[in-house]
Structure formats: C-alpha cells, structure tokens
C-alpha cells in the first residue's frame, strides 16, 4: 500500500523500510515452516495466526499514528480492558451487539481525548500522562465491573475472531477483514491526508509544525482520540475471544503493541512509522509465538526470542542507516 510513493524512486526510505520488515516476516515464516514442518503454512494455521494477531494489530495501528506524531500511549492495555467491560455491560442491558461495540469505541475515544487534553494542557510528557491514565483507566474498568468478570450472552460479536469454518466470514473471519480495512485506512490517512502529514511534521519537528500553522494541540488530541477508539475496537475483538467482559484483561499488552510498531519501523523519536510495517511487525511477533509453541518450545523461550528480535530489529535498522 506504500508502493505508490515510490513513483520517482527518490523517496526510498520508507519503502525500503517496509520491504525490510516484510522480508523479516517472510524469513520467520519460512524458518518455522522448516522447523515445524509444512503444516505450519497450511491455510488453517495461517488463519489461526492472523486471528491471534488481530487484537494487537488494531491497537498498534492507532499506536503507529501516536508514535509518528512523537508521542506514546501506555494506556492501551487498560483501555482494551475497559472496552470489554463496557461492551459486556451494554450487552447485558440488551442494547444489541452493534450499539455495545459502538459504546466500547466511544469509551476508548473518550480515554484518548483525556490523554490528549492532559498532554497538551498540562504539558507533561506523554509517557508520564499515559502511565497515569494506564492505572486510572484500569481502576475505572475494575470499578465499573465491580472487580468481577461479566458474563455476556452470545451474539455475532463472539464470531468476529472465531475460525471461519465454525463461524462466519468470507475466507477469513470478519474480524480479520476489519483489521485489514483499518490498516488500509490508517495507511491512507498517514500518507495521503493533510492530517497525516501534520502528524509526521509534529513528530519530526514540533516547532516547525507550529511555525507552519499546524494546529499542534488539536492534532495531538485527535491522534490520541483515534488511538483510543482503535484500542476500544481492539477491546471488542478481545471480548469476542474471551466471551466475558474482563477488567483484568490485556495487562501488559501495551508493550506488545508498542513492540509491533517498533519492529515495524516506527521510531520512538517520532516522524517515522507506517501502517504496513506495523501490521508486519505484529505478525512477526505472532509467528514467533505460535511457531515456538508448535515446535514445543516453552513460553520462556518465546519471550527470549521476541525480546532479542525487538532489540536487533531496531539496532539493524540504525546500523544500516549510519
């Protein structure tokens, strides 16, 4: 989806970055296909990995935009948990699945607006603000759920990430298509809208953005709101997997989300990141996890491998550029 950027061959950098991340993804898939055997690349297994990637991937698309704008959002894990609780409560009050899902997205967006407003008005760095809201939202979710899991009636929401043979969808479950559609939308926003270019400008040099008349504060609030809404949507997907609203869900997931963006070529210094890279980054992490467990390697090995890859992916990128 970034191919069009290379028409005159002079941009190069972002393209080759995405190409490298995709090559990395292919490499790990081929590696595990050798280790585990051909069943690793059978359609059913690929679908399984896609389903496992979806939740992190949706949240990471929002995080990509935040990181491009030079920010960070540590509260996504908590927002996902809050979203499962909100969805569950709405389902139990017979609101209907669509309304329940919309409620979760709105709740997520509200958390994002809170992040954005705190960051721009208090002038506290995003890391600290979202570290605070991470706890704050988590606490809110627990309070809302009375510190219990909330059982929900079965609806079509539960089929979003169920395998297509037992649920609904065309070739892949609807939840995967939703993720793909969002990835394309985020890619378009980042590359082909004024808002997207403003995010890059803010992340690359906030003072330049201000000088050029970019409404820096409004853009930041908007980007955190979008990231919050996408985290809310990730929460809906999480609920479809768990079937319960769980205020203790997704603890520590924000780190997976950030890792996906970073492996995908995003830079914590801002001004860098692509939707395609992030999707590939999230997929790389899933392939390693699924591959290791199908190879019979224990969980601790997976963690060591994933950690090593994060550090070396970034180091490799830096080394190539210098």
């Amino acid at each position: 989806m970034d191919g069009a950027l290379a028409v005159d061959g002079s941009l190069g950098r972002e393209d080759s970055l995405v190409t490298r991340v995709l090559a990395g993804l292919l490499l790990v898939v081929v590696l595990f296909a050798f280790l585990v055997g051909p069943q690793f690349v059978r359609p059913a297994n690929l679908e399984l990995m896609a389903r496992q990637t979806a939740i992190v991937c949706v949240a990471a698309l929002g995080m990509t935009m935040v990181i491009v704008a030079g920010g960070i959002d540590l509260s996504v894990g908590s927002v996902i948990a809050l979203a499962t609780v909100v969805t569950a409560l709405l389902l139990r009050s017979n609101s209907g699945p669509l309304l329940a899902a919309i409620g979760a997205v709105v709740a997520g967006a509200a958390c994002g607006v809170l992040n954005g407003v705190l960051i721009t008005t208090l002038r506290v760095v995003p890391f600290i603000v979202t570290l605070g809201t991470m706890l704050l939202v988590r606490g809110g979710a627990k309070g809302l759920a009375d510190e219990r899991r909330i059982e929900t009636p079965m609806t079509w929401l539960n089929e979003l990430l169920r395998t297509v043979r037992g649920g609904s969808g065309i070739l892949l479950p609807w939840g995967i298509w939703l993720t793909v559609a969002l990835a394309i939308a985020v890619a378009i926003v980042l590359q082909y809208t004024k808002f997207g270019r403003h995010l890059f400008a803010i992340g690359s040099n906030e003072r330049t953005a201000r000088l050029c008349g970019v409404r820096v504060e409004a853009s930041k609030i908007a980007v955190y709101a979008i990231a919050g809404a996408l985290a809310g949507l990730a929460g809906v997907l999480q609920l479809s997997q768990l079937s319960v609203g769980d205020p203790t869900a997704a603890i520590g997931l924000e780190l997976d989300v950030i890792a996906a963006v970073i492996i995908g070529g995003g830079s914590l210094a801002g001004g860098k990141g692509t939707a395609a890279g992030t999707v590939a980054g999230a997929a790389i992490m899933t392939v390693i996890q699924v591959g290791c467990s199908q190879q019979g390697l224990p969980n601790w090995v997976q963690q060591i491998v994933t950690g090593t890859i994060i550090v070396f992916a970034v180091a490799l990128d830096r080394w190539r550029r210098s």
Binding site: L5, S10, L11, K194, H198, S204, A209, G213, R215
Partner: protein
C-alpha cells in the same frame, strides 16, 4: 595560536588567524557575528580541532583532543550557556571530573575544601558549597563555573559573551572579578560584541573579520569608533540587485509591543530592516508578531486583523515567517522537500483533507526549478540538502503560500554566497510585486543594501525606523553595541 585555519565543508571559518594572550592580561576578541570568534575559541578549548596552525601554551606545543584535555592543560572556557549540572550541589559541580577519592570512594571533606578554596580565591565565599546549582541566580552560577576552572588550576580562562545572561550590577561584579583574576596572573580571553564592555574590561583587543585578523591594539589608546571600523571594513559588492520601488498602503501596524518595545508601520512595497546583535530581542519581537509567542503589551494590526492570533491565523491572513533557526525550527529534517514546502497547506496540494501526491510534487517542482534548488526531487528528505538549499526550501514555503507580508529572521545566516545573492534577488522581486517585508539581520551590509528603512534593536528595545540612507554600518554598529556611551 598562529596560522590557525578551519573549514566547514566549503566555508572557510578561519584563515591563518593569529592570537596571543599573555598571563596577567585581558585580551578582548571582537568581531561581527560569523567573524569566527567562537570557532577560534572552540579550537582553543579543545571542542574542535583546527585543520592547520600551531598552538603553544607556556612555550610548549598544545593540541588538546577534547575539552577535558584542554582543562587538564590549564585552558577553561566559560560558555554563553552555562554548562553546570543543575541537580548537583555547588561543591559537587566544582569538583566534577576531578573528585579526590580513596579506592573509588569520594573524599567529601576534600571536595568541600577544594570548593571552599576556589570560591574564596574568587572573592565570593558567601556562596554556600552545599546549595543546589539550580537554585542559584545566573550570576552565581557563572561564579561556580569560574570556580570550577580555578579548582582545576586553569591558567587561561576564555569568556564567551559572559554578560549576555547577566544584569548590569552582576556584570559590574564580573568585571571586578576579571580584574582580580588578572592580577593573580591568569591569562584571560574575552569575547564580546559589546564595545562598551570591551573598553571597560580589556587591556588589548584583537579584531576578527570574515575569519581573518583585521587589526589589534591597546584598548586604552583606541576609540570605540576605530575598533568598529576594523570590525566592518569592507566594501559593498554587487550582491544586491535593486529595482525602483514604490511604497504602497500600510499593511502591518505595530504599537508599543512587548516583547520588543516596538512601534512601527510596514507598508506594501518596502523592506523594513531591523538591525541588532544576537540576543537583542529581535527574534522575540518577530515571534510575537507571528503569534508564536504571546503579545504581552501593545497592539499588532495586520490589515483588518487585530487581537490574538495563532501562526495558523497568520498564514491565513497572508503573513509568513522564515525562522532564524533553520535546523531547529525552520524545517522538519525527516520530511521530504515537498512536504516541507507545502506544510502550511493553504496552497494547491490536494483536494479537501486529502493530499494528491502528483499535485504536491508539481507544486514543489515549480519552486525547485524557480529557485534552482539542488535536490534529487520533491521526495528527497530535506536533511540531505546543503544549508543554502535547505534555506531555499524554507523560503519556498512563503512563496508557495503566496503571503503578502514576509517576516524574515536572519535569512542568509550560514549559507553560501551564491544562495545569499539569490535570496537578495528574491526579496527585491517580491517587494517589486508590492509585498511587504520585515528583515532581521545582524549582517549590516545586507541590511543597508536591501532595506528601505532600518530600526536598531538593542537590549530589548527597538529604536525609531529611519531611511536606510541615513545609516552607515558604523552608526548601526555603534547604536546596536550601545557604544555611544563608551569611548
């Protein structure tokens, strides 16, 4: 130091410069901005290495690899921006890097003694060695910085614009201190562009101009005006095209604005020059006009628009600004040439909220061709361009948004002569098309050649704008350096 030479890329910063500082003497190094003073001192203090030339210290060859080695050899620099660790105490700062220790454990008693001794030597024992540096006034912080140099047994002290962060009283205290240090036999190099200070504090002066020695002498016997002549001393060349201008209606009306203390009216078809030295407050004034900083007092009226404005409003009202800080503010280094040119997004780059890459490229190509910007294309990352070409990209932004009022802050700083000439030609063409321009510069020849009227800013106040023909480089420099009261 003799025959010191330093080039940055194609720019020759220093060419065969000689400088001698004797112990028990204050030698002032003067010159206009960009004359090479700071580069020379950076070489002396080990922060940069020269391409050629010899340095000797007490008769022995001296070529420090880094500032620490220079300090160990006895040469310390007191920078414009203080270089203390704000969260550490006074004594920790003074002993930083030379902590007396036993088996890796710091000997706190000796650290304290070192600090107390150094402050006593300065004649300022009233500064508590336990106080946190962050809590001290700028003047006291500077004393701590000097004490640190003394604690290291430094024999040569370099002061780089030391009064820029000080008030009048603190500056007087500093001059007295420098006098005492001189009597203790230290050699002191003093950089300043305030001639008044130079007259007060130094025994001898050395003038640098365009990276070369341009005269020296005993301060006492030389009037300030003569030093100023040595600092300027150059004929105008035909860098500056100038077609006949017709001054039109007023567009920008500024009344008693703080910051800047400015009152002026800018008309279509004219260039208003603002002269002044670095730190005089020119940039703050421009930033306030453009909405980047709050207007604390007074009124700014741009056409029909008055009241509070953001930069966003200013662009829409037809005003554009070129920042003096090209790398830090003027450009987003990681973005492409095209993105940087069209970032304000009022010109033609797409439809609605969307950017059409072909339209953006076409717009950028137009300016690349018009300004002769050397780049591989609109999508090249702007950081890869040379300084002059980067500046043209930043300037192209104002052209692309076709603003009527251009606020230019040091538009030619640090760029090559060819790019300079192009920018002067552009300014002339724009004024010919009845645009209005505010030009801030500390390079007086260009101000005199390009402006129709010039006002001088000194210590935060803007003087009255007079026709450019009534000024000379000399009178501008005298006014800007506050030198009328000296000599």
């Amino acid at each position: 130091m003799s025959g010191v030479r330093k080039t940055f890329g194609a720019t020759i910063a220093l060419d065969e410069v000689d400088l001698a500082v004797r112990s028990g003497e204050v030698c002032a190094l003067v010159g206009q901005n960009g004359a090479g003073k700071s580069t020379l001192m950076a070489i002396l203090a080990g922060a940069t290495r020269p391409d050629a030339g010899r340095m000797t210290l007490d008769g022995r060859p001296y070529s420090p690899k880094d500032p620490l080695e220079a300090r160990r050899a006895g040469v310390a620099m007191i920078y414009q921006e203080l270089s203390l660790a704000p969260h550490l105490s006074v004594m920790e700062n003074i002993a930083l890097g030379i902590e007396p220790s036993h088996f890796g454990l710091i000997d706190r008693a000796r650290v304290r003694q070192t600090a107390v001794d150094a402050l006593r030597q300065l004649g300022h024992p009233e500064i508590s060695v336990d106080a946190l540096v962050a809590g001290l006034s700028p003047a006291s912080q500077q004393l701590v910085e000097i004490a640190r140099a003394l604690a290291m047994q430094c024999r040569v002290l370099v002061f780089d614009e030391p009064t820029s962060s000080l008030g009048v009283e603190d500056a007087t205290t500093l001059f007295e201190l420098i006098g005492r240090l001189k009597q203790q036999g230290l050699a002191i190099a003093y950089i300043s562009h305030f001639l008044e200070e130079v007259k007060r504090v130094s025994d001898r002066f050395v003038v640098l101009r365009d990276g070369r020695n341009a005269g020296e002498g005993a301060t006492a016997g030389t009037p300030a005006a003569e030093i100023a002549t040595m600092m300027i001393g150059r004929a105008l060349d035909d860098l500056y095209p100038r077609r006949p201008r017709t001054v039109g209606e007023p567009v920008l009306d500024v009344k008693d604005v703080m910051p800047g203390g400015a009152t002026f009216t800018l008309h279509r078809g004219e260039v208003l020059g603002i002269a002044g030295l670095l730190g005089a407050g020119r940039t703050q004034l421009l930033r306030a006009l453009f909405g980047l900083e709050p207007v604390r007092r007074g009124t700014v009226r741009l056409g029909v628009h008055a009241g509070r404005c953001t930069p966003h409003d200013r662009w829409q009202q037809g005003m554009g600004m070129l920042s003096e800080d090209r790398a830090g503010e003027g450009l987003a280094p990681g973005l492409s040439v095209g993105d940087n040119m069209t970032l304000a997004h009022l010109g033609d780059t797409g439809r609605g909220a969307f950017i059409v890459p072909a339209m953006q490229d076409a717009a950028a190509r137009r300016w690349i061709d018009a300004l002769g910007i050397r780049t591989r294309g609109p999508r090249q990352i702007v950081a890869a361009l040379s300084g002059g070409n980067q500046q043209k990209v930043a300037f192209a932004r104002l052209l692309h948004e076709s603003v009527d009022v251009l606020v230019l802050d040091e538009p030619t700083r640090g760029i090559d002569v060819g790019s300079k000439a192009q920018i002067y030609a552009l300014v002339d063409e724009l004024v010919g098309r009845s645009k209005a321009i505010v030009l801030v510069s500390s390079y007086f020849p260009e101000l005199l050649a390009v402006s129709d009227r010039i006002a001088v800013m000194s210590r935060g106040r803007l003087g009255r704008a007079l026709p450019a023909s009534e000024w000379t480089e000399h009178s501008l420099l005298m006014e800007a350096s506050d030198a009328r009261t000296a000599s």
